[in-house]
Amino acid sequence: MTSAIEWWAVILVVGSLNFLSRLSFIAVFAHFEMPPLVARGLRFVPAAMLTAIVVPSVVFSAPGTLAFTYANPKVVAAAIAAAVAWRTKNAVATMGIGMVTLWLMQWLLGAARAA
């Protein structure tokens, strides 16, 4: 049983460090100029970080097990969702169609396995 102290240690330390991360450059660059190299690199932060977050949740069917094939419902659903996001730039449509595709693929694969 995890004690309250352990929970609160995590909550308070991570909470503070998260806030410091979020504040970091905002506080610092209020007083200094940002080096041009840093400015150029920043443009790529969202694309790189968001991809790094999304990809593992989609291509690994279990921790350590790569399943980057059309037989993986998550891969198909993510591909379709990406196409929807590309065309519509609509977050709700992306998530809705992504989930529906996932359920459809899971059902189809379940049915195929039973047959």
């Binding site: 240690a9 991570v14 979020r22 970091s24 790189a48 970080m49 690994f60 969702a81 709700v92 992306t94």
Partner: protein
Amino acid sequence: MIFSRLDFVAGVRDMTPPLIGLAPFGLVCGVGAQSAGASPWEALGLSALMFSGAAQILAAQLIAAGAPVAVTILTCVVVGLRFLMYSAAMAPHLKALPTRWRHALAFLLTDQAFAAGIRRFRETGDTRNGASYFLGTGVLLWTTWQVTCFAGYWLGNVIPVAWSLDFVVPLCFLALLVPTLEDGSTRVAAVAAGIAVVALDALPMRLSLICAGVIGIAAGMLAEARRGSS
């Protein structure tokens, strides 16, 4: 005065539709906290103070697995390192604001708020406009986040596992990712990061995440430099 009611309301209004998709994400975080054995106050601390879905899910998983507190803290902080980068991207736009505003907006700096805020700043180039808009976005997100995490915590086992509701989490981030892929070099950055995060998956404490991010950024900068010189 910095605060512009018009832009604040615009921020709230624009972020309202995406909440429909964000709500399941919050529910998943609340469910995770409950199944990891968090008390109601601890669950509230997770959503209100940590205020990061990715970190909340990780913390719940690691604590439930009995990981040492130091490991849990370190992993959550590593996942949150992307906030350093959001902070750096936002910094030039917030330069002119009073300290109080900078701190408030920094606290509200999440993936969704960043995406919406940075776009507004780039479109309008106006500090008052962007800051008020960002505040509206952030306040709406923070409040809704508390509500959905809380709901997930109490509803917990009511939601069947078969629904695969946790897939909304990558979908949520995917919806944010695609609009950023506006040119060749950013796409290179994304592809590089995607390959790296899979290749480095065996690294402990989710270090693959921050390494892949850095590799992606480097790849993007290289692609941009080559494009410029040819």
